[in-house]
Structures are given as C-alpha cells and as structure tokens.
C-alpha cells in the first residue's frame, strides 16, 4: 500500500502519460490513415472512435474503482487467484513489449529517413533508448514527471502548424459525407490503433493521488488526444488537395516544408528532432509497464532486469533485422487487433467476470 502512496502521480501526470502515448506517432500518421479510408470525412470517424474509446476507458476505470490496493493484476489475483493474474500479466507483458517495439521502430524509421540517413539503425535505437532506460527504470512517479514535462515542452507544436494555415483551402473539407456513412463507419476501426494505451490507466490507477478524479482525468486525456488528432487532420485536409493526399507520405511533416522562420530555414528537420520528446512517451511508459508485468509474474520488484533484457534484445535484434516500412504497417495492423482485444474487450470481459464473482461470493455469504 505504502509503495503506491510514496510514489503517487498527480492528475496532470496521469493525463500526460495517456495523452502522450496516444498522440506520439498518431500525430504524424493519422491524417494519411484517415484520408486513405474515409477521404476528407475522416475526422468524423475520429470523433466516433473517440466516443467508443471513452466508453471503453470508463469501463477500465470502473473495473479499478473500489480497488485501491494495487493494479489490475493484484485485483485479478485477489478474485481469480494468482494464476489468473499471471496469465493476464503475460499477455500484457507481450502487448507492452510489442507496443514499445513498434513505437521505437517507427520513430527510428522516421529519424533514419529524414535526419540520420547514414547512421545504422541499431545506433539510433541505442541512442534513443538511453534516456528511455533512465526514465523507465525508475518508478511511475518519474514517468509521470517526464511525460508532463515532455507534453508541456511541446506546446509550441500547434503554433508552428498554424503557420501552414496561410495556404489553407477550406473547400477541401466539402462535400461532407459524399459516400454516405459507410466509409466513415468502416474507418472507425482504423482509428482504434491511435487511441490505444488508455489501458495504462489500470496500472496507473493505484498511484493516482486523487482517485475520484480518475474518470474525469481519462476523459480529459482522450479529449486532448482527439483535439490534437482533429487539429492535425484538419490542417492536413485543408492544406493538401484530395488528389495530392495519396502521393504524400507522412503529410504532417510534409506540411512543415512550407514554413520558414527568419532564423530557421528547415522547420521540418527541427520539428522531427524536437518531436522526439513526444515520441519517447510512446515507448517509455510501455517499457515500464512491460517490466512491471514481468516482475509481477515472477514476484520481483526491481524493474531494471527485465528492462535491460528487453532493451538489449531490441538493440541486438535491430543489428540483424529491422522491419521495413510495409512490415511495420502490417505490424501496426496486427497490433491494432491485439490492442483492441486487450484494451477494449478484456476490461469488459473482466468486469463481467468480476461482478459475477462478486455476486457469487455475496450469495455464498448470504447462504
């Protein structure tokens, strides 16, 4: 119990971790993704995706409500036995390991393609994993601090993008719903991937200082994510004509080519480097949750060993094999399905099982 109290996180840190993880590479990718499937109406799918995710996240919070002594795994161990907890812990450890790997490879690819073309990927990975290890080996508190700092230090991003609005052509947003609701609705599952990781709240919940605000905090976090996605999508939609869209890779970065500051010629390069701060929130909490799950399974407390193993594996494996862009997309798709199972379905399932178990216990007690 004390362990959680000593190292509590504030509501802002909670929001920062969740929003940061979601926004990170979604911000670069989502305009293209939305436009590919739903055209200029993609933003509607985004709003629907947000609604679905909010519901799912409230379920996750509901699951944790009333249980203040530990994380989801402790809760499961209490109701379903140690092995139920271990099973879920293994699934989650896999999930977070893949999630962080995906994030790492994605950012490294972006950096390799735009900044460090000559440097081998494993060196880039090694470099970005140094700060990641320094933060993730600590407790949740430090992850919270890192995330909130990163988020606050990146508040300049919307301003730099608003420079591109000079070239905006608002007519590109019209007509609304040319193909009916069909494409819009079928795009919703594609947005799921970018909302993943709100599930972190089941790990963060016991550390939260003001638990009664957890529901509100997660809605704020998701809304922030939605707003930033909406912002970048609409900025891209009004900047690029529908025909251009298919030909341009990572439009969010492309947009910045038009911005020129008096002291900075190429804002885009600077942006990618500075954006590393946000990128890093994608993998740092996931790395921590991974090591937490592994430790929980084996009943250990020091997060460093699993972290070192995972980080070592990632770096060494990247020396031999790194997924290329198309493989990465396939990995994303697959992860999106996995994530849907873990983050959307699993809490619902657990909640149902839990309430049944509670009711059963109450009945046994009465009898």
């Amino acid at each position: 119990m004390n362990r959680y109290a000593d190292n509590s996180i504030t509501t802002l840190q909670f929001i920062a971790i969740i929003t940061g993880t979601q926004v990170s590479f979604g911000f670069i990718d989502i305009p293209y993704e939305l436009h590919e499937h739903a055209g200029s109406d993609g933003w509607i799918s985004l709003v629907i995706g947000w609604l679905v995710t909010t519901a799912a996240s409230l379920i996750a919070i509901r699951l944790m409500k009333g249980y203040r002594q530990g994380t989801l795994l402790d809760l499961l161990a209490q109701y379903g036995g140690r092995w139920a907890g271990r099973a879920v812990a293994c699934v989650l450890a896999c999930y977070f390991a893949i999630f962080s790997y995906d994030g790492l490879i994605y950012s490294t690819r972006v950096i390799k393609s735009r900044i460090l073309q000559e440097t081998p990927i494993f060196i880039t990975l090694f470099l970005i994993l140094i700060p990641a290890y320094m933060v993730a080996r600590n407790e949740v508190r430090n992850i919270g601090r890192y995330s909130e700092f990163a988020l606050l230090a990146s508040l300049w991003i919307p301003f730099i993008f608003s420079f591109t609005l000079r070239h905006a052509n608002w007519l590109y947003l019209l007509p609304v719903l040319p193909g009916g609701w069909g494409p819009v609705l079928s795009t919703v599952p594609h947005t799921i991937y970018y909302f993943l990781s709100f599930f972190a709240s089941v790990f963060l919940y016991p550390y939260l200082q003001k638990k009664e605000r957890a529901g509100m905090a997660i809605v704020i976090a998701l809304t922030l994510t939605l707003l930033s996605f909406l912002f970048i999508s609409i900025v891209c939609f009004v900047f690029l004509s529908p025909d251009e869209f298919g030909t341009i890779y990572q439009p969010a970065i492309y947009l910045l080519k038009t911005v020129r500051l008096p002291f900075l010629e190429q804002v885009e390069g600077m942006f990618i480097v500075m954006y590393l701060l946000i990128f890093s929130i994608a993998w740092i909490p996931s790395l921590y949750f991974f090591s937490y799950s592994v430790n929980w399974t084996f009943g250990r407390t020091d997060p460093r060993l699993p972290l070192r193993l995972l980080i070592g594996t990632i770096i060494v494996s990247s020396y031999f094999y790194v997924p290329d862009y198309w493989q990465l997309i396939r990995l994303n798709k697959w992860l999106s399905g996995f994530g849907f199972g873990v983050e959307y379905v699993l809490p619902l399932l657990l909640l149902a099982l839990l309430s049944m178990s509670k009711r059963y216990r109450a009945e046994v007690k009465q009898a």
């Binding site: 504030t10 802002l12 840190q13 950096i111 900044i115 460090l116 440097t119 880039t124 470099l127 970005i128 140094i130 700060p131 320094m134 933060v135 600590n138 508190r141 430090n142 919270g144 601090r145 890192y146 909130e148 700092f149 990163a150 606050l152 008096p262 002291f263 900075l264 010629e265 190429q266 390069g269 600077m270 480097v273 500075m274 590393l276 701060l277 890093s280």
Partner: protein
Amino acid sequence: MDLLRLLGIGRRIANTASGFGKRKSGYGYGSSDCISGNLDNDLKLLLALFTDTPDLNVRPLTIRATGRRAALVYLEGLTDKNSINNNILKPLLQNEEDGCGTTSVTVGRLNRMRRWIDIQSAVLQGSSILFVDGAADAQVHGTEGWPQRAIEDPQVETSLKGAHQGFVETLDQNIALIRRYLPHRNLKIKEQRVGRRSDTRVCTVYLDDVANMDTLAQIEGRIGKIDIDVIINSGELSELIEDDPYSPFPQILLTERPDTAASQIIQGRFVIVVDRSPSVLVAPVSFASFFQSVDDYSTRWSIATFIRFLRFFALLVAIFLPAFYIAVISFNFELIPLRLLLTIGEYRGIVPISPFLEAIFMELTLEMMREAGVRLPAPVGQTVGIVGGIVIGQAVVQAGLISNIMVIVVAFTAIASFILPNFDMVAAVRLLRFFMMIGAALFGIFGIMIGFMILIAHLISLESFGTPFGSPFAPVRFADWKDTMVRIPLWRMRKRPVSTKPAELNRQVAHRTEGEGK
C-alpha cells in the same frame, strides 16, 4: 605504573575523541577518565595529553579569596588575551572578599566539566580552563578569541540592492547574521558535530513552525552518519550529504549572503551553517532555486521577470549554442537560412580544422582563461584579459586558424554563462556543454536532442532531501511558477513554495486588491 596509566588514558581519550555519538552517550568511560581533583596529578595528565604543544599555556596561581592553588590552562592563539588577563586572572589574583570563591571571574559563559574528553575539546576550541586543587570539576570559561576577519561585502554573490554583509568563518557570527533577519523564537538551531579530528560544529537553522520536519530528520540523519576525520568547509559537507553524488548538478545551494539565507528559511528551507566556512548550505532546493538572486525581490517585478527569462535563455545558450554551431556546420546545414550559411561559409572556408576541433579548442581556451582569472592574484589578473582578448581573440582569427563566427559563439556562450547567478550551476553547465558538443559532433542535431533528453531524464529523477529537484517544471507545480520564470508582485505571493512541503503554507494575508493604490 603511574606513567602507564596516564598513557593508557591518554590513548583512550585520543581514540574516542572521535566518534561524537559515542562520546555523547558516555559509553566506555570509567571514573578514571574524570579529573581527579588533585591539581598536580591533573596537570601531569594534561601535559601527557598535550605533548609538543608549545602554544598551551599553563598558568599556576593561588586564588586570593580562598587561598587555594589553581592553574589556568589555555591555548595561546585561540583565546582572547584581554579577557583572560582582565576578567579571569585579575579577579582571581586580586579580589579578596568573595564568599563563593572562584565564581568571581567576570566572563559570560562559564561551565563546569569533569571529563577529560570534554576538557580537551574545550581547550582546543579556545576556552580557558581553571583547575582548582581539591575541586572535582574544572571551570571552563568562554574566552574564545581566534584570529578572524571583519564582516565584509560578499565576494562571489554580489548584489546591487542587497545587504553588504557576508558570512564569515565563525559559526556564531554567521548565526547572529541570520538571526538579525529573523528575530523570532521559532527560529531553531540544531547543533551537530562532524569530523573526528576537526570536531566541526554544524548547525541546521530553520523555522520550526514552517519547515517540514521529515526533511529535518533526513538532514540530521545524513549529517549524523558522516564519519570523517576533518571537514574543511561547507562544500565538503554538501558533497557528503547530497542525494546523488554522480550528478553534475549541485543539489544543495551554497550562499555567502545572510539575506539570501534568511529568505530561504522563510520559504521553509533549512540553512546548514558550518563552522569555519564563509558560505552556508541551503536545502532542499530545486533546479529553479539556482536561478534566483536576492536582487530579484528588490527590483520591480516586471524587470525581475525579464531578468529571470534572460537567465533561462542564457542557460539554454550556455549549454547548447556551441553544440548547435557544430551540428549546423558539420551536419544539418539545411536548418539555417541560406544567406547566413553563406556568411558562415565565407569565414569557415579558410579554417583548416573541423568545426568540432575548432569549437573544442576555443571552449577549452575560454575555460583556461576563466580559471586563470580566478586563480591569479588581482594585479596580474589583468594580463589574462589582454592575452586572451588580443592574442587569442584577434590573432587566431587573423592567422586563419579559427573562424570569426566561432569566436562570436564562444564569446556569446561565455557571456551567457556569466549571467547565471549561481557559481556551482555555471560549473555544471560548462561541463555539460562539452558533452553536448560531442553529441553534436557525432550525430548532429539528433545528438543534441538525445543529450537534452538524457538531461531531462536525469533532472526529473533527482531529489533533494525528499523533494523533487525538477520542481516546479517536472513535476509541474503551477503554484510555484509565480517565482520561477516570472516573479509576480510580492503582495500577490501569498504562499510559500509547495516544493519544500512547508508545514505552514501561507505567508501573508491579502492586504491589497488589484488596482488599489492607483
């Protein structure tokens, strides 16, 4: 037999003179470690303790009032002769009628001690001891009068409007200087002693209804754990008790200004005064504390705010500018506007060495000149400026070894690091600059960013006595932003900083509202 016993005691005292914890608990001392009451024996033992101590003065005398034999013992240089002659020897030798005998001495502080270990330490700290034949305890007079300097203007932390008194090397005077600002009975002082040989007094000064008691326990605990022979000054103590010894950043603030110390105490922090050291330690502090200066509170708040911004900007410049120069010249030349690039290229063209070597060479030169300026005596110091300015600044460019732009970068960096108010922080910044330059030379702007992220990762995990060092930036404490980047008007600063976890948060009652007094 007698000699053996004397030596035995002498050694035992010498051995245990060390651990003050042991001494306080009185562990291991039999009755034989007390003075005997027989003057001759006691003096013999005393001389056995203090062999080869020519400055030890033993003055045998007969107290006129009682007619008993006695001896006054003191160390020559550490005592105030005037006080000994006039206030101790004179009454003892001349006063006739005095019912209570030896109390006729006219000194303020008078103790009685019977254990050798205490007596020995009292002699060494500058007290004078009166042994009276037949008395079971010795009389200890506070006659300290060691060489000391007058109170002067602080040398390192100069200020325009602050007080012109700086701390000196005597603990009691330093505490008096603080007490002058806070004449309040809640100003408490915890005294501890550190150092087996130096037996240095270390006092923790705080306001007991404001400061956080958990932090006090931590500070006391850490000081209590130190077991070292000597600490010479407060910088050593700070290194012994700080949280992360491997961090480049100072985690304890050193100040030589009593007004700064007092204002830190009011904010709920602790001031640790170390005897013989002209600067005191302030803990717990956060990163932002190193960017505050006492002048900020006596200039207009808008100007103070501007200067605060300037300092944080200077921090960024001092750490990143040379690195950025290297990155832009050797890697990411697409980042800067073309015309600027052309200008740089024009000067860089003739320089035969790589930008990294160029930058390292110039930065090292700058550091050497700075160090030379600090170490050289003032009359010779001027030559550093001439040699540095003319020979290195001008000649090196004319010879085509270094580009003009590089000289500008170095000069700008130097100026930026000069405006940071805390010397220790500047030292950390100077060191970090080199790491950033290496990062930039290897990976360009990406290397700088990695350096920055490592810096952030390090800063957020630092703690200063249980309070986060990165506050109020990470963890974000908006309430404390009133006195970090901006300095809001003092009448609005109603609360103390929350980062010190004060027991009493409120500092002033709102006495004026906005617009009042127009």
